[in-house]
């Protein structure tokens, strides 16, 4: 049976074989075409030169991130303008610690960002949980348990220059992308997740307490005791009990 590699399985390793036979040749794929390569470069350049980060910061690492917004280490030189809204942001620089309470909030912010989006995990709390990786009951051991991360920066906190270095590395990663593979980057299966034994519980705070009638108006017994006149129909039935108490 002839295989397409033209390699005879009976050949021993001592015999010489052509490793890349001529049939392969130069690829005929469309993306390797000169025109589309230049277009890919232009598309990638346009995106990497103006990565707008979201202003996200939970803890100490955000102070170092804020140092980049200032003039000494300026990230506007790289085209980064901090945006408050996730809808306008390209990249989210996760700075700080994620706890169990903050995790769904962070995930929601990430989901609200429009594609194409990138994530930089800044600081060890976001890589492995950092100082909280051993005994903490609430800290999440790394942001990549809940969302996909592109670049990781170690440090507690990392220097602002280390953060700029990681932005440069993210730009290198973006420059390798191709327009044709845009739709292959799906959100599922980009990060590792595992089956857990946690049971879903209904939320404790449902708003019922806030809407309770007694919070808006004191009960009839109290209003009578206070001396506020109320219509006879609404008067409480257990008037004797009230007098006993008072």
């Amino acid at each position: 049976m002839r295989n397409s590699n033209n390699i005879n399985p009976d050949d021993s390793f001592e015999k010489q074989r052509i490793i890349s036979p001529v049939e392969y040749g130069v690829t005929q794929q469309l993306s390797e075409n000169v025109i589309l390569t230049t277009l890919d470069d232009l598309y990638d350049w346009a995106r990497l030169s103006s990565l707008w980060p979201m202003l996200y910061g939970t803890a100490c690492c955000f102070i170092e991130l804020a140092g980049l917004i200032g003039s000494r280490f300026d990230f506007d030189r790289f085209g980064l303008i901090p945006r408050s809204s996730p809808r306008q942001a390209d990249v989210i620089i996760l700075a700080g610690t994620i706890t169990m309470k903050m995790a769904p909030v962070t995930l929601r912010l990430y989901e609200q960002m429009p594609e194409p989006k990138y994530v930089i995990a800044m600081g060890i709390c976001m890589i492995t949980g950092g100082p909280f990786c051993v005994d903490s009951p609430t800290a999440i051991r790394g942001a990549d348990k809940i969302l996909p991360v592109d670049v990781y920066i170690p440090g507690c906190p990392p220097r602002p220059e280390a953060l700029i270095d990681s932005i440069i590395k993210l730009r290198k990663k973006i420059s390798n992308e191709s327009m044709q593979e845009r739709d292959k980057i799906k959100q599922t299966h980009r990060y590792y997740s595992t089956k857990h034994n946690m049971k879903s519980v209904p939320p404790i705070l449902t708003g019922e307490y806030l809407k309770a009638a007694s919070r808006h108006q004191p009960p009839n017994e109290i209003t009578e005791a206070m001396g506020v006149p109320i219509p006879p129909a609404l008067k409480s039935k257990e008037k004797e009990k009230v007098t006993e108490i008072t």
Binding site: S71, R72, F73, D74, R77, A121, I124, I127, T128, G129, G130, P131, C133, V134, G142, D144, V149, D150, V151, Y152, I153, P154, G155, C156, P158, R159, E161, A162, I164, D165, S166, I168, K169, K173
Partner: protein, 197 residues
Amino acid sequence: MLKFLKQVSDYAKQTVQSARYIGQGLSVTFDHMGRRPITVQYPYEKLIPSERFRGRIHFEFDKCISCEVCVRVCPVNLPVVDWEFDKVNRKKKLNHYSIDFGACLFCGNCVEFCPTNCLSFTEEYELGVYDRHELNMDNVALGRVPYKVTQDPMVQPLRELVYLPKGVLNPHGLPPDARRPGQLPDEILLRSQTDDK
């Protein structure tokens, strides 16, 4: 006629006053025009980290005695010291040593308490990676010679604030022998000796 002249002179005075006021504000603006921006142009200019900067940890395999003090003093018990007791020579033999920089706080406890000084800090801080498993460095990776800012031909090294001479705030264009204020201990000793004489 006189009233008209007075009006003209009033208007002229007001104009001069407002021009002076604007001029005072603009003098601050133009003063800034002549100054050099303090931005450190990061990949082309890098600040030289200070002497005691807590960068990536360096490990000398040959000096380690596998005492595991570094593991005990670490806040997260991070270094992994793989040793076994060699019954023939009655010594501990170190097989492997690794530190995961994805969890290392760079606190310095291990460096401070190491009895043989095999752990030390380097000045490297550019440790960003695409995959966090690359941050788990084994003894070979920990023993590598660090990247020096002063030896990189593409980079102009800048001194940090405390290393600049007195009265100088701009790190560019400093002569290489410009000294920081203050004296080294040897110099203090020398001075006290000459004073004694």
